[in-house]
């Protein structure tokens, strides 16, 4: 290759080097897709670990899960959603998810009963190569009673071995110490447009970090809560 030709390739190589830097920076953390949450979690969800997001209905749990999946898919990673809600038919709203930026063909969607959810997640994590596996137990009743602690430990072990981020969405805290990071959503306040007839516009809620985050002591002193605003219209 001539010198001129080599110089011509420098911009492309530089772009790749930047990508490598970014990869290095984000090692150990994965963006949640929500900037405020990334700040709260010191960079995002921990990789190769279990994370938990809890909250009551209409506090934005699903929106955060889908945002995380959308970012992982955009980065070229394999993702899966184990959907144990919706009465066995799955709770995912495909149109709304696509509108939220989720590339549907790249998502492995497993609809199952709550009793099969852990086994399904275990299989997906064990396959290796998945960047994010989301486990939706939001409407699965009291998952804490349903799932033995040993099952979470086994799933955590699999996530650590395969380098997978396992994100569990529940209505009440379930994972306990098995979760490397946990976010609790609360104070969900719906907003309606009232210019004319009422029109549902979105939800404002607060996210509190209840587990995980930065190991840096100075960062720990920051307020472990952030406000989030979700919309339901484009």
């Amino acid at each position: 290759m001539s010198r001129a030709a080599a110089i011509a390739h420098i911009p492309e190589l530089a772009a790749r080097l930047v990508s490598l830097e970014r990869l290095e920076e984000s090692r150990g953390r994965r963006t949640t897709g929500v900037a405020a949450l990334d700040g709260l979690l010191a960079g995002g969800w921990p990789r190769a670990a279990l994370s938990e997001i809890t909250g009551r209905r209409s506090t934005g749990r699903t929106a955060i899960v889908l945002a995380t999946l959308a970012r992982a898919i955009a980065a070229g990673e394999a993702t899966a959603l184990v959907d144990a809600s919706g009465g066995g038919g799955g709770s995912l709203d495909a149109r709304a998810a696509a509108a939220a930026g989720l590339a549907l063909p790249a998502l492995l969607w497993i609809r199952c009963a709550p009793a099969q959810a852990l086994k399904a997640a275990d299989l997906v994590v064990g396959a290796g190569g998945f960047g994010v596996v989301a486990l939706d137990l939001c409407d699965s009743g009291d998952a804490r009673r349903r799932v033995a602690d040993a099952a979470w430990v086994r799933l955590r072990h699999g996530a650590r071995n395969q380098g997978t981020t396992v994100l569990v969405a529940t209505s009440t805290r379930t994972l306990g110490t098995a979760a490397a990071a946990a976010i609790e959503l609360g104070d969900g306040v719906p907003t309606f447009l009232t210019d004319g007839p009422p029109l549902f516009a979105g939800v404002k809620s607060r996210a509190a970090r209840v587990r995980g985050g930065s190991r840096d002591e100075s960062a720990r002193e920051e307020a472990p809560c952030v406000s989030l605003a979700f919309t339901c219209r484009s």
Binding site: R22, L66, L92, D93, A100, V124, D139, F192
Partner: protein
């Protein structure tokens, strides 16, 4: 060209033994009422049997009582001889196990023998006697740099993995390779006519031809070995013994012009078993099918292929067939997964009658190969992903595993599941483009099917609702939003094209939707069916 010949002596007995690999270390024999003359496979119909076997059957009055026709070496050493009845054989050797080879066994055995060839070459000549296959092994030198003996050993080892004890010879032509397999367990005949002539020279005449007339003629002339025949002028032999005699003389000289007629592998791979008694329950049937699946997967593994689809054909008692296709999400070689899928399918739709025979037809496929990238995330390995998808399908049902897809329908809850394909690697520089955060957009967590609820209506809409999981006052109401559809389609079509299992009454649907903020803090999406006035909870925003 260098041809490898794989010869499985007593293929019928070995085919029967494939069913019971645990009995492989015990003396065994094959019982037959008469020499097999089945219609399938065609190559087997002309199977040549040893002279001793045929003589034994003739003297024993074939067709009246089952006689031992083929014997494993241990049984022969124990004193059992062809032509004995089962009682006589057991009197000589109490530990002998006697089998009967069904047509399904023979067919599967012949197919497995062909697969030995297909594991090493894309085209295989199945020969004319059904006990041998030939394939071109000239290109295998790069894979086996230690020579042709290593190739022959590898072929023999692969045959053993498929449950076949094979003799292997490598030569420059079919005829010479065939003779070499008669003489040796493992043989490599030197290339060229001179080398072949030298190799064949010490072999007895009986190994050169099956023709008893020719054997007798050569014996009468005092020629006992191939070398002695090679010393005779071919023209003179042809004059006295005809063209078949000339062929033998040329073969003894290391010259053979038998054509090599290779064929591609069949599209599907089959394994079958005929049962001695009807099976009424699923678990015993699964046990029977396990052997079939294991053998089929072993054959696929030898060709570096996986199972992309499986058809199960059950013969019912007293007559009838039950044919079912077991759906597979992706090619797999995991026997446990395949059996689980079969078991689930059988449990979902049991056969109408007892099963007396089973046949699996496996569709081979290559597992997707991928090239890893240093700068991009590595996805799941194709074979492991395929196995995982199949296991997930076995766990939750194949209709519940895949990628979600939107449906061209006005129904809000319509969704489809399509085959999952891992995302392609993004182009270089795409990682930086992902910095833009997607909108934090709420979606409706759907209930499928929508749950029927009680709603108290006020002047401006719902004022309270009660369902199985929710009882709440309504604080704010937005709506109604009226939607209707499929009224333009005839009733039957509307009922079948809907993607929602909770289909409405045929002939279209009409709903009035509300978004309601309830006193439990959630924002629900509910609708009233305009046709019957009932309320349904579609889900809630989250």
């Amino acid at each position: 060209m260098r041809l490898a010949c794989v010869y499985v002596p007593q293929l019928a007995l070995q085919a029967a033994l494939r069913r019971t690999p645990e009995a492989r270390d015990e003396p065994a024999g094959l019982l037959e009422t008469e020499p097999w003359k089945g219609s399938v496979p065609p190559a087997m119909s002309s199977a040549r049997r040893s002279r001793a076997t045929l003589d034994a059957l003739e003297t024993a009055g074939a067709g009246k009582k089952p006689r031992v026709t083929q014997l494993e070496a241990r049984a022969r050493r124990a004193g059992v001889r062809p032509g004995m009845t089962a009682a006589q054989a057991r009197a000589v050797s109490a530990s002998i196990r006697l089998y009967t080879a069904t047509a399904a066994d023979r067919e599967a055995g012949a197919a497995a023998l062909a697969d030995v060839g297909y594991a090493f070459a894309p085209r295989v000549d199945s020969g004319d006697d059904g006990e041998r296959v030939f394939f071109d092994c000239a290109d295998l030198g790069q894979l086996y740099p230690y020579g042709e003996t290593a190739i022959a050993q590898a072929v023999q080892a692969h045959a053993a993995r498929l449950g076949l004890g094979a003799r292997v010879a490598i030569a420059s032509s079919k005829g010479i390779a065939r003779v070499a397999t008669r003489a040796h367990e493992l043989a490599v005949v030197p290339a060229g006519a001179a080398g072949a002539r030298e190799f064949l020279a010490p072999l007895p005449v009986e190994l050169l031809t099956d023709d008893a007339t020719l054997r007798a003629a050569f014996r009468r002339w005092g020629t006992r070995t191939a070398g002695a025949i090679a010393a005779l002028p071919v023209d003179a032999v042809a004059l006295r013994l005809g063209p078949r005699g000339a062929d033998v003389a040329r073969l003894a000289c290391g010259k053979d012009d038998e054509p090599f007629v290779p064929r591609l592998a069949p599209d599907a791979l089959e394994e079958a078993v005929d049962l001695d008694y009807p099976v009424y329950e699923i678990e015993p049937l699964t046990f029977v099918l396990r052997g079939l699946v294991d053998r089929a997967l072993a054959r696929l593994a030898g060709r570096s292929l996986a199972c992309a689809g499986m058809t199960l054909r059950l013969s019912l008692d007293p007559r009838g067939l039950d044919v079912r296709t077991v759906p597979l999400a992706a090619p797999t070689r995991d026997a446990k997964t395949l059996l689980e899928l079969v078991r689930l399918d059988l449990a979902r739709r049991p056969p109408d009658a007892a099963v007396v025979g089973a046949r699996i037809i496996v569709e081979p496929a290559r597992v997707r190969a991928t090239q890893l990238d240093m700068l991009r995330p590595a996805g799941p390995a194709p074979d492991r992903l395929a196995t995982t998808l199949a296991r997930l399908a076995a766990l939750v049902g194949p209709e519940n595993v895949g990628a979600p897809a939107t449906v061209d329908s006005w129904r809000e809850q319509a969704v489809a599941v399509t085959p999952y394909v891992p995302p392609p690697a993004p182009p270089a520089g795409a990682l930086a483009a992902t910095a833009a955060a997607p909108a934090m957009r709420l979606t409706v967590r759907r209930k499928r099917p929508p749950e029927e609820i009680e709603v108290i209506m006020g002047r401006d809409g719902p004022t309270a609702l009660r369902g199985s999981e929710t009882t709440a006052r309504v604080l704010v109401t937005a709506g109604p939003y009226r939607l209707s559809g499929e009224w333009w389609q005839p009733p039957a079509t509307a009922a079948t094209t809907s993607a929602d299992p909770n289909n409405d009454a045929p002939g279209g649907w009409a709903h009035e939707y509300w978004d309601v903020h309830a006193s439990d803090g959630a924002v629900y999406r509910l609708h009233r069916d305009a046709r019957d006035g009932r309320f349904y909870l579609d889900g809630y925003y989250d």
